[in-house]
Subunit: 689 residues, 2 copies
């Protein structure tokens, strides 16, 4: 992110509208002219609808796509890593050994994966505006939640098991859309390579390139206990990605902060990112040492450690981007350009002019109360699955007793299927690990809120964090899904009667969490939301719809091409080969290929293109997205970005920002010649015909 | 550090010279008029000499003082914690149980403690100036080192075992002084309370107040196997500190950054502090988990964890101070005031005008190479005592073959006694702990320099960090002090022949460390040093000697008084009582008092003042400093600062910044009524007569 020349900043300043391959576009507003100009391709409506419906969202935070008419789903290994871990045990370690279902009977259901296919988008801006008109603070916040819940309920209709609807705020409230999804919760594991192949290079290579990862996994969508038969799916291209070829990535970028105000960015830089990074760093050290204690601990902690290290690297890159004086200068200039536009006209000024200062005021309050919010209600002080279950049960009993529109958003009828999937999950719980994580996070709660904080005293009483964690974990029965189910179904009465120590704790602090949340939503979030809407409207007035909205973990199209970059004067070629993986080996984790690769080395086409980079504008959440060509064929599978892509949270730098993908040819080569997955190769290749 | 009003900033801007109780003053330049005005006391020459010579420095990073004519030394428990740990074993855990020598025969020698008594200060500015005149870059760096070594050698004379001399650069090169110390390496442990009493409240309460810590320890200085008989020592005051009373703290503040340029402060804020904080946070997590694995691990890791958590909190406070826009505004204003003064006169401008920009340029390079320097040469990549020994042996053999003035500074004849004390120390080495620490730090080396960095490849080869650490620790004999001694005495030949794996490693990377160090010293440090000298000279021209130099871990006097502060509108009283400690108990570490306190509760005067705060301007390194009154009697013992004191690295805020001390009366009360240390109480009280 360094070395941005002043000239480059000036160039970018006037380019608030997208240029080059910048942009994460909603399916209903594709930048046709821009794509035609850059790539000689026009994404027409039929093509767009096909792509929209062949693509998938993994509700847990990833993307994927159908790649066969029998419901085969392609995504990343790191997107299904938690499923692979949950299906493993000390006896069968699929993380280490990989998994292959040789026929459909061997496919194993993932306890917590939900797939969403986007079927319909409806503009509901007017209805939201009407409901919130003239309201502020808590009143605004309540009304906004109520209308969203109402809209979602109407949309879902009777069958919330197969229909999911989310009201999505685009352009920070510039537009409200209702996204209707087909929901699939019976998702089964078909194929996962060994972690050593999927995550070759491990954390050291994460967000780097050249790269040599088979970060793929295959799932199958089931309905009524039968493989689903999707109308739309992506066949694999015959040859895969070529240099200079246009690449389209369709997926669900989780979030970007490109349209935040400077005050918000400064808060992120000086406070939010720093605090959370320090927490992640410490958690990382804790998990590293826990993991090293035994093979079993290694397996148990792997998924938590991956998530921690991944977030750590992402946030480290973001803070570096924000510390770059030239990035902040760019943001200031962009903000000034829009404010000057607003101030130039008295009527516009009256309408929008105060929005930035109002946000700055909310941000000052946010700075003061964000730790309390994060630790008390956000769960930062209670790093434990068991606690999360207890909270869902206590809150859920309460909330389900209320009319839908008055509930906390995550307990509305439309959201319950996703919540209960997690709550009733058969994923194993490891008590010793729970004690370590919870005990540690309670010490962080104490550290961050202070020893004498009333909430801390309420939680700890005269116990030490470690002793409390031990007592809770050893005394609870919530590790058993049947117990959780009974408590859920027993409702308020069962919760009130329960003497399970986690339930007792969650019950006793429920009001504290609600109180800080209410304050945060009313005095911070709703102020920011209202004023961001104003800024969005001003932006529309100035730039029209030539701008794309910040990412919102909803479907976006990104157009780019296969292209290397120049790293401080050294060109980085866009491709690696499978043979290169052997050259990159040291023989020790994370730089050791699994036995299967060594056994198969003679059979592998070592010149096969393996990983590659493209100019597509993506971000976390896009993991598992298909990389397709103009014919809507899979040419690759996104799994990462290069190190420069981390600044992409704030701006897109076409010179350096690259998406990193597995080549489609390498996936087929590995399935065929390393894993002997002939059944899957046949299925994928048949889809092409 | 928040809530600095703009008015306060303006007030402070014009106050580059000290005001109120600000200032860490050298013994030869006490602010007599200021002290007289503030406290009605004049520190005359005789008084100053007495205080100077009764006070002590612990070479490892603390302060102390003689408190009896038989060489009894008072300092903090946390300053002798490593000695207490080194003398402990699985059978005798003095960290947990405390230690008391009932007579002199029971006193145990600390393996690595060195005491320094400051005997003489000589101004050598002219000789240094002469030697470095007109030189730049490496040439400057070499000449400066040579003259320092020469001056120190002349000063030490024949007996380096009892005389230590350090050339000290004050005012960032404004003045060079030679400090001559009496060196004492036979230092024995006399008394240490249980960690639970000394560090009651643990990390959560560290840098906080109200506080309830018996953070004291007693040592005895020996010479020729007999207790030393110092001429100067501090008797305990009869009643101890009173509210509003003047308090003088004499000790060795480690370092402050109050006179750095804005460019240097920005580097610290955006890069140095952040990187190191993240490393400390991760190390903290690692050590916390390691410690939790067994009682033995708890004891082994305690000192490392204390150091890590303490540094973490200090640096966290510093980064917050630098992120406060108003602190940076103050610094900018101060810099501008001086630069305007310089620019106002053409001759001055010619002499000093470029210094700030030259430093900014050096800082830009520093930003690029500081990681390499820290990881390759600074030891950040090799967190291991065994590696430190190997490096000392390899370097030492090489350096001792050169003329004294050409050696690296830490291997000059004047410095060898301190170095060999560490090298030949009988402190135990814990192989499993070494493996954990070294293995982890090697992964950080790889992470920070990059997998493909040539140095990383050279160190790791095809081994994993963990495997390399295992091989080194399991294959070495350096854990045995006799082996280290033989290698040291065997010199270059023994080192060349050694196949000890740590020696082999240290040998193979020695040149890499030297190369980056040379570059760093020539292109960063020497540029900053030369130009800081210019700024110092400009500052003298404008402000005269009414300013005090940044702290340099040399003796300083600080004048203040017993006084609470106002915490967001709530007054914090200056004293706590011993009874308050019982009220602050939860019964769980770190909020559990030891059994000795509970057993003695009936005998203790619960109203006895326990800890207290004063306005003295101190910083890390002052730990263990005596708090004395105008009669040079001990009224307390510094062990901490309040949370606001952490910003004291950059500026002194009299409204909030407080030193935290143990009351002299509480020390006597505890020795008498809890620990039954009648022998020590008699000795201390006899000193008063």
């Amino acid at each position: 992110m360094k070395n941005i020349t002043a000239a480059a900043v000036l160039m970018l300043v006037s380019a608030t509208s997208a240029f080059g391959d910048e942009g994460m576009w909603t399916p209903d507003n594709l930048p046709k002219a821009q794509v035609q100009a850059n790539h000689g391709f026009t994404p027409d409506a039929k093509w767009a609808e096909h792509v929209q419906k062949a693509a998938l969202r993994l509700a847990g935070g990833c993307s994927g796509s159908f790649v066969s008419p029998d419901g085969l789903v392609l995504t990343n290994h790191h997107c299904i890593n938690s499923c692979v871990q949950q299906l493993s045990s000390a006896e069968k370690d699929y993380i280490k050994d990989g998994f292959l279902a040789r026929d459909r009977k061997q496919e194993l259901r993932c306890p917590e994966i939900e797939l969403n296919r986007l079927d319909r988008i409806v503009d509901v801006t007017e209805r939201v505006r009407e409901a919130t008109k003239g309201r502020t603070g808590e009143d605004y916040s309540t009304a906004e939640k109520a209308i969203k819940t109402t809209l979602e309920k109407e949309c879902v209709g009777k069958d919330s098991a197969v229909t999911r609807c989310d009201v999505v705020s685009l352009y920070h409230g510039g537009i409200y859309n209702l996204y209707q999804y087909h929901r699939i919760q019976d998702v089964r594991l078909v194929f996962a390579p060994e972690l050593e192949a999927a995550f070759f290079g491990g954390d050291p290579d994460n967000f780097n390139f050249p790269r040599f990862d088979l970060d793929m996994g295959l799932l199958r969508a089931y309905e009524n206990d039968k493989p689903m038969r999707p109308k739309h799916y992506f066949p694999f291209s015959k040859n895969g990605a070529e240099e200079g070829e246009m690449t389209v990535i369709v997926g669900n970028p989780g979030g970007t902060d490109r349209q935040l105000t400077v005050a918000q960015l400064e808060l992120a830089r000086d406070s939010q990112l720093l605090s959370y990074l320090l927490l992640l760093a410490e958690r990382r050290g804790l998990l590293e040492q826990f993991r090293s204690e035994s093979d079993e601990n290694w397996r148990i902690a792997q998924s938590d450690l991956f998530g921690t290290e991944n977030s750590y690297k992402v946030l480290r890159g973001r803070i570096s981007a924000l510390q770059d004086p030239e990035v902040i200068a760019l943001k200031r200039a962009q903000e000034k350009e829009l404010r000057d536009f607003v101030d130039a006209d008295p009527e516009r000024k009256a309408r929008y002019g105060r929005a930035w200062d109002e946000i700055a005021k909310a941000v000052a309050l946010q700075r003061d109360i964000q730790d309390q919010y994060a630790y008390v209600e956000g769960g930062r002080g209670f790093y434990s699955r068991l606690y999360a279950y207890a909270k869902m049960l206590v809150r859920g009993a309460d909330e389900r007793g209320k009319p839908d529109a008055e509930r906390l958003r995550e307990y509305t009828d439309a959201r319950l299927p996703a919540l209960t999937q997690r709550l009733f999950s058969s994923a194993p719980i490891y008590p010793e690990f729970e004690k370590v994580k919870l005990g540690w996070s309670l010490t962080k709660l104490r550290e961050n809120l202070g020893t004498n904080d009333p909430f801390v005293k309420k939680v700890l009483g005269r116990e030490s964090p470690e002793a409390l964690a031990r007592r809770l974990v050893e005394g609870t029965k919530l590790g058993d899904p049947a117990v959780r189910k009974a408590l859920w179904e027993g409702g308020s009465e069962a919760i009130a009667k329960s003497d399970d120590p986690f339930i007792v704790l969650a019950r006793s602090i429920d009001a504290d969490g609600r109180a800080i949340r209410k304050r945060y939503e009313a005095d911070v979030e709703s102020v920011i939301a209202r004023n961001s809407e104003l800024i969005a409207a001003a932006r529309f007035e100035k730039y029209g719809t030539s701008v794309y909205p910040d990412a919102t973990f909803t479907q976006r199209f990104s157009f780019g091409e296969v292209k290397g970059w120049d790293e401080k004067g050294v060109p980085v070629p866009p491709f690696t080969t499978m043979g290169g993986a052997f050259g990159h080996e040291t023989g020790h984790y994370p730089f050791a290929l699994p036995k299967s690769w060594h056994d198969a080395k003679d059979r592998i086409n070592l010149d096969q293109r393996y990983n590659f980079v493209t100019t597509n504008d993506i971000i976390g959440g896009n993991s598992g997205s298909p990389v397709i060509n103009g014919k809507a064929e899979v040419v690759g599978l996104v799994f990462d970005g290069n190190i420069h892509s981390l600044g992409g949270n704030y701006w897109y730098d076409e010179r350096l920002n690259r998406a990193v993908s597995v080549h489609s040819g390498a996936m087929l080569e590995a399935l065929r010649n390393i894993y002997g997955a002939d059944n899957l190769v046949r299925e994928i290749e048949a889809a092409r015909r």
